[in-house]
Structure formats: C-alpha cells, structure tokens
Symmetry: C2
Subunit: 224 residues, 2 copies
Amino acid sequence: MTRPVEIRESPTARDRAYDGIRAGLLQGTFPPGSFIEEALACEVTGVSRTPVREALNRLAAEGFLDLHPRRGAMVKPLTGTELRDLHEVRLMVESHAVRRICREARPVPALLSDLCDQHEAVSADNLLACVDLNRRFHQAIVAAAGNTVLVQVFDNLQANLMRMSMLSLQSGLGKTARIEAEHRGLVAALQTHDEAAALALLDRHLQPLPQLFRGLPGQGPVPG
Amino acid sequence: MTRPVEIRESPTARDRAYDGIRAGLLQGTFPPGSFIEEALACEVTGVSRTPVREALNRLAAEGFLDLHPRRGAMVKPLTGTELRDLHEVRLMVESHAVRRICREARPVPALLSDLCDQHEAVSADNLLACVDLNRRFHQAIVAAAGNTVLVQVFDNLQANLMRMSMLSLQSGLGKTARIEAEHRGLVAALQTHDEAAALALLDRHLQPLPQLFRGLPGQGPVPG
DNA sequence: TGTGGTCTTATTGTATACACGAAGTAGACT
DNA sequence: AGTCTACTTCGTGTATACAATAAGACCACA
C-alpha cells in the first residue's frame, strides 16, 4: 500500500529550490546564524542561481532568513523574545478565528477531523510529518473563520511556527498523542460553537509552548 | 532651502524596480485586473528583467499582485470582502498593540507626535504623502507595543492598507484634518495609558472605513 | 611585533541569451 | 459557414556570463 500523500517534486525549479532549502532549514542542515551561499544552495537543490535566489527571497520574506545586502542570506536565529512574540501573535490570531467561528456559528470543515485521523495514523517519530499535520490543523481552524486576510497573516507566521513546533517535539515537550487528543477536543467544542470552551481548550493546548522560552535571557538563540 | 528629506533613489536596481512598480500600482498606472508584463516593467523602471522579477515577487508576497504561472503578474483587484477582512484584521492588530501599550505602561515614542506635526504641515492634496504619513503613524503604534512579530504582521498588511487609505482619501471620506486630530487624541490617550479611551478612539478613528465597502456585493472590485 | 594598506579572491547584483509553454491566428476540411 | 488543427508569436522560466563590491590575506613599514 503506497502512501496516500506522494511527495512529488514540483515541476518548477524555483519550488524545488524552495522545498530543498526549507527542508534543510527545518532539519538543521543549515544551522541558525550561518550564511547560505547561493552556490551551495545550487549544489544542494540542483538548480541554477536564478531560481535559488527567488527561493531565498521568498524564504526571507517568510522569516526564515535575514538578507544582508552584498553579504548573503543568514539563517535567522530564533531568540527567546522572538518565540515569545510569535506565541503571543499566534494566540491572538487563532483566538480571533475561534471567536468568529463560534459567534457566527460557522460550519466546521470535515478537514479538521480528517487531519486528526491522519495525525493518529502517522508514526510519532516522523517529526516532519507531525509538524506538517499540526500546521495544517491550525491553518484549517484559521481558514474556517472565513477571513482570507487572517489566513494570509497566519500563513506568514508558518515558517517560524513550524520551527517552534519542531523544537517542541524535539525537546519532548510536545507528545503527538496528547496533541492529537487536544485537537479532537477543540474540534468538538467548535462544532457546538461553545466559544468559552474552545478558547479555553486552545489556550490550554498552546500552554506548554512558553516553557520553550521561559527563563531564557531573551536575546539568546534557542539551541537546536 | 532644500528639503531635509532627499528622496535619493535606491542604489540597487531591485529597489528602483520595486519603488517604480509600487508607485504605479498605488497611482493607478497599472489598473487592477490588468497584467504587468516584465518587459513593460523593465521599460518603466529602466532595469533588466532579473531585478524586475524580484520586485514582482516581492510585490506578490505583499499582496499587490497575483502571480499566475506562465501567465504573469495580475494586479490584484481589491474586492469588497477583502477590504472588510482587511479592516477586521487591522483592527485586531492595532487593538492588541494598544492594549499592550496601556497594560504594560510602555513609553510612547516621540515619533508619534512628530508624525502628527508633519501631517499638519503637509499639503492636503498631496495624497501619496498623506497616505505615507498615515501608514507610518499606525506602524509606530504597533511598533510601540514592543512585539517584533506583530510589527512584521502589520507590515505585511501595509500594501493593501495603503490602497485602502488611498481609496478613502480619494473618495473624500477621509479628511486629513480630522485624521490628524484623531491621531493626536489617540497619542494623548496612549501617553496616559488609558486603555478604554485609546481603544474607543482607535475604533472611532477607523469607523469611517467600512463605509468604503458597506453595501458592496462583496465579490466586486472597488472602482478607482 | 603591530598596524595599515593594497591586492586578490570569492560572492553577490545585474544583464542577457536560450528554452519551454501557452495563447492567438490562419488555413483547410467537413 | 463553422470548427478543428497546426503554426507562429509572444512571454515567462531558467541558465549563465559579466560587473561590482566587500572581505580576507599578505606584505611593507613604523
């Protein structure tokens, strides 16, 4: 039985470059603080400099990289304060979405339950897959609010949210079983449009994350 | 007496292309719904296709353009629903910033008053300047909240916010004198960390904007 | 031995040539 | 006369060559 989700590589060179570099960023092939030279990225992804540059620009716009003119692309180190700020904003966005869904009694897409099922099926040590399913779940909640701009805003956070999610799983803070259970609870609350319960569940679901950066000096980058 | 702020054109070709195309987008040289061909953009900005492509990619990431593969860059038409969504999100972000400033009793930067002064000094029919000052004012408020991620999120909205601001001024809804007065009131409330007053003023300040898209069918693009 | 300057080299910024694909048009056949 | 097909043309996608700049190393001089 082949896996239902085939990772077919994109036909365009730019997307291949983007996928390759982003995977390297998430998996630590390109460590935070280091510079990614275009020639190296070309070797890794197998395309020429033009699509590589476009991919680097996109990754910079998404917050993975800092572009230094005439210097290159530095892998942006995630600092404690940045994680804290990121968490605050994601909570603001998702809470807003939850409120809108409940108050307007919007239908909850079946996709949410599907993603929970997939989450249950996937192996717990497949970190990349878990991170991706988690991302799609929260993305679907925001999308269910029916505000395209809000979705776009949330998408712009995805880069660093995925890194934070990766850190959480690697540190052992996030257990996929618990995460999946909490996701199901959240879906149930949304389906009954119970705003208070949904907000509480969301808050509780994201509660462990601040432990990642609590006690950090703030400026220091997070190891890993 | 020369102006203190020289608009020196950027030394890099990419930024010249970006500035040129963006100005054209805001001023209507490239009408919504039309396609911008790279060759045309090259002629207008005087640089070659490479920096033009980078500029187009950036503008697409900022929400000005929709990139159709193998088709080109379409100037994204602002629909009624999009304006409504945008307004909802910007209110969410700025309200969050105001709350943080007041609750944490953060210092209010002098830049805010400076911008009010500049707003008072500038000619009311210089639409581009007014839009830019307005943008910088609201940006400064978000920045004063001290959350870098929130600032980044707000920056990502700027493209369409500026278009909305332009529409508001052109339609006569926004009077620069009133805007400037409300800005000063908001600054005063923030300085005393009066959360309720600041939130009310912010809400009132942004109140006229929904008139831009109220009554619109939603799907239809906004004229102008 | 330390410091300053210059030269080299490596890497980014830009331009352009080529490839691929899509869309429009014209012609032929039904 | 209408429709389908093939060809042409135009525009994007990609690769590569060239230009400019900044960093680093090496040498000379104090």
